[in-house]
Symmetry: C2
Subunit: 203 residues, 2 copies
Amino acid sequence: MTVLSRKERDRQLRRSDILKAAEHLFALKGYHEATIRDIAKEAQYATGTVYLHFKDKDALYFALLEEKMKSLQVTIKEKIGQVKDTRRKLEIFVQEGLVFFEKNQDFFRIFISEGNELLSERRILKSPTGLQMQEYTTSLLKEAQEQGVVSRDFDAGQIAEVFTSIIKTIIQRWLEEKKEKNDNLIDLSGVILRLFLNGTANK
Amino acid sequence: MTVLSRKERDRQLRRSDILKAAEHLFALKGYHEATIRDIAKEAQYATGTVYLHFKDKDALYFALLEEKMKSLQVTIKEKIGQVKDTRRKLEIFVQEGLVFFEKNQDFFRIFISEGNELLSERRILKSPTGLQMQEYTTSLLKEAQEQGVVSRDFDAGQIAEVFTSIIKTIIQRWLEEKKEKNDNLIDLSGVILRLFLNGTANK
DNA sequence: TTTAATTGTGAACAATCGTTCATTATTTAG
DNA sequence: CTAAATAATGAACGATTGTTCACAATTAAA
């Protein structure tokens, strides 16, 4: 039993080596220009070893996407669950997003290129967790509308997408200018909340 | 003279045939999955003919990007130039953007996938016109800050990116839900301006 | 009409990629 | 320690791509 468990543990270790290398290379070069050979080499395995853990390149990409998204989702839902105030919930949403992406900058690059670029036939199957997050954000904003924090004039789904796109934009800009300034990303949560809450407030 | 001019005119016609096919296929499949063979076939030429007009695939892609961006830029600058009121300028900025992308939906898909996806080494040379547009938007917002329309608390460049990202997000959502609803895109300019101007107003 | 120049064509080339699989190395069981 | 099972390897395969170029067709010049 303890033997089998070590085997399985080793296996997960190799799997996560490969995922880590994939994250780095997909972020650096994009899906198409990152090759399985690259990824295997960076993870210090032979090409074929990748296929012992993932069915094909797509499966590797989606596994990466799903696992990271899941971890973001779990964190956010957990922290928000401990709180009642709607405005505070939105605050936590932003802050936890910033903290997560400051720690996962490679993944952020993959994350923002999702939804765009590859609307090609292949990528019709969107990330399930990504869709869940979108629904969750929408539900948060519906709640905010009921509480009078956000105006009912807006479509909740529409506002949800604007909300996340503001967050993404601010992060992206921070990443590009990080060299010059050395602010913490978390310090930008105030700007984001002000922009969004004033923008969506009742007139 | 008249002969040479007809020759040149024919040549431009073929060039724009190819650009049109490229626009369609890059939008549909993305840069990597759209092949020169595809593009040539859709434009009803042989593969090699594409190379009589464009040095390589990259040059074709950038020519497309530059020509469309240029036309958007010219339209916007011209319309805004006829006006003094700052708030009205921002209104025109949004409205002309919506009109342009409603007419150029294929190009919009290419446009939004720029900046993201392909940060790979290859695409370090961003579209010059794209950068000009970014600078122009920033200058508009600096003016808005001087006029007291937008709070001076914000960094103009940061706000400029948020502004365009809100516009992009609203357009993207409209494209996805166009089947069900049949609003005109232009009708959404009010929502965008309200979100942005309230969001960035003085406290 | 005949010849020269230009333009269009698509088969062929070279490079690269995802994926497989025969072989080798390693681990487990007896 | 030996044999069976499992895992890792990387060369090889087939498919696809961007690009070229020898040839054909078309147009211009004489």
